[in-house]
């Protein structure tokens, strides 16, 4: 599949944004309102940026509003509806947290639920496609949610450190034991990485799923089938969109590069965590940047390495 930059950025950034929404909601009662508000605003900016990136994938972006209409059957439509609802809830949570309202806790959990539902809906856009065997399994939602949780949490670490610098001391309080916070930081990246390894393992085992050129042409009963004459000599939408092969030969190297950025760098920095609050802020920013860079590389492979059954009609 063609790895469109718009979709790679969309899934990565909105994944991280809604992941931060999730943690903001879950931890809303355990931190000062202004910290929740800061996290919520960062989450809204990031998620919205991701959603805007997806618009660049459309050939007729002015008709994007129609995608709110088909929630009964289409996961893309469900995602389009869930995302703004989740963002509005985050905004409500921000307002409630700043005013120290008693609904903050409940609102937090509802926001967290909606954020995770949005990420799941995004992943289902890909998971539902039976023609792309690598995507069509429970491993895809697991992958998307795992990276959303991890990148969201590292963003949260950054927001915590930043609020100590930016906000007055009494407004930057976070009532979470340092050991718990560090443990989560140390677990989430390897956990997401494990989900990625599970996904890669499945992808390598099932290139085209049950389908073959024999089943695609219906000629399997007569012998083995091989393409002799292509239907067109140049490129076509089908071959450029579904037959992407460039740099597939570097796939294995890229996988390890993504592991390096996604997990190795964040874990090494977690052990160090910098001198003083400025150092901690900078190192948590480095964790976010490295982790997200790793996800972007892995997401590029998610598209580039996955094969579509239409290529069975060509010399694949």
């Amino acid at each position: 599949m063609h790895p469109a930059l718009s979709l790679i950025l969309f899934t990565t950034l909105s994944g991280a944004g809604f992941g931060l929404c999730f943690w903001t909601g879950v931890l809303a009662t355990r931190q000062e309102g202004w910290v929740t508000a800061s996290a919520g605003l960062v989450a809204i900016i990031l998620s919205t940026t991701g959603l805007l990136c997806s618009v660049f994938h459309l050939r007729q972006p002015t008709r994007a509003w129609r995608s709110f209409s088909q929630w009964r059957s289409s996961w893309l439509s469900r995602e389009a509806l869930l995302a703004p609802v989740a963002l509005i809830l985050v905004l409500a949570l921000v307002l409630a947290a700043v005013q120290d309202s008693h609904v903050t806790g409940v609102l937090g959990w509802i926001t967290a639920l909606l954020a995770i539902a949005t990420v799941l809906a995004t992943s289902m856009i890909y998971t539902q496609l039976r023609a792309i065997a690598a995507w069509n399994s429970w491993r895809t939602p697991l992958l998307f949610v795992a990276f959303s949780m991890s990148s969201g949490y590292y963003l949260m670490l950054f927001v915590w450190n930043l609020s100590v610098i930016v906000l007055p001391t009494d407004r930057a309080q976070v009532n979470i034991p340092v050991e718990q916070a560090a443990l989560l930081a140390a677990i989430l990246a390897p956990a997401a990485q494990l989900a990625q390894f599970v996904w890669w393992h499945y992808r390598d085992a099932f290139r085209y799923g049950m389908s073959s050129t024999e089943s695609a042409t219906g000629l399997g009963g007569l012998g083995s089938v091989r393409m002799l004459e292509p239907p067109h000599t140049g490129a076509s939408y089908l071959t450029s969109e579904m037959g992407y092969t460039i740099a597939r030969r570097h796939a294995l190297k890229l996988r390890w590069i993504s592991v390096f950025f996604c997990t190795a760098i964040p874990l090494s920095i977690c052990l160090w965590l910098g001198e003083g609050i400025v150092g901690a802020t900078l190192s948590s920013l480095m964790i976010v940047v490295a982790h997200v860079t790793g996800i972007i590389i892995a997401r590029w492979l998610f598209f580039a390495e996955s094969r579509h059954t239409v290529m069975l009609y060509y010399r694949s």
Partner: protein, 248 residues
């Protein structure tokens, strides 16, 4: 609405006879010609006469080599939308542009609603949908919906352009829900095949496979001396003269 109808009154579709197709590409060209001026936006090309021509086509003919233990054959394989009963391209559509009509089962794109996201083309396992490079909307076979019901055309022309133009009658058009239709009879007598049944799309279009010719050859050749066929035996008066002269 991009939900699929529970049942369609008719199932209009094609039956494609791979035994008869000679790969002449006439259906490909006539499809392009008709659909460049028919329903929806024109089927665009980029650099049609340049170094790298590229464009949207709704029907393409592939060529395959089928090799078994003791034979090899070339099969010409036309491929267009199969108008599936469980069309995955329809249900994924977020805007309501993709529909499967309940009256005749034709899968269509309402181009005025299409936002050009391309998800339906990903959902189709057969590659039946192509994005128009100029209009930025999804194009697909309409089963020539603007021909088959078009009362301005002579009745003989009210069938899809690919079927109308096929010089070998390899493409047949009809109602596959009607068990007595011409196409249903073809499917029944020749074991019409679904493409990729494991994708669970339940295609309406069926393919008829090339038939085994080895049996036919043995029947016609056993006990015959081909040279005899070139040596006619006269009957009547000529026959009597022939046999009388032979006896001399």
């Amino acid at each position: 609405m991009t939900s699929l109808p529970d049942k369609t009154a008719r199932k209009l579709g094609l039956v494609i006879d791979l035994d008869v197709c000679v790969g002449c590409q006439a259906c490909v060209v006539n499809c392009k010609a008709w659909n460049s001026g028919g329903y929806g936006s024109s089927l665009a090309d980029h650099e049609p006469y340049g170094d790298a021509p590229e464009g949207a086509w709704l029907n393409r003919v592939h060529g395959y080599e089928v090799v078994s233990k003791d034979s090899a054959a070339i099969v010409h394989f036309p491929k267009s939308c199969l108008h599936c009963d469980d069309a995955p391209c329809v249900t994924v559509c977020p805007t309501g542009a993709s529909i499967k009509r309940s009256e005749d089962g034709i899968v269509l794109v309402d181009e005025s609603k299409c936002m050009g996201c391309g998800l339906c083309a990903w959902a189709c396992p057969y590659g039946a949908r192509e994005m128009d490079p100029s209009a930025g909307v999804m194009k697909k076979c309409t089963l020539c919906v603007d021909r088959i019901y078009n009362e301005n055309l002579p009745e003989v022309d009210r069938e899809p352009a690919c079927v109308r133009t096929c010089p070998t009658n390899a493409r047949h058009f009809g109602d596959l829900a009607d068990p007595d239709s011409h196409v249903s009879n073809l499917v029944a007598s020749r074991c019409g095949q679904d493409l990729m049944p494991e994708q669970e799309t339940r295609p309406v279009n069926k393919y008829l496979l090339p038939q085994d010719r080895d049996g036919a050859e043995q029947m016609s050749l056993s006990g015959f001396v081909l040279a005899d066929l070139a040596d006619p035996s006269p009957s009547g008066l000529l026959g009597w003269i022939d046999s009388a002269l032979s006896k001399l």
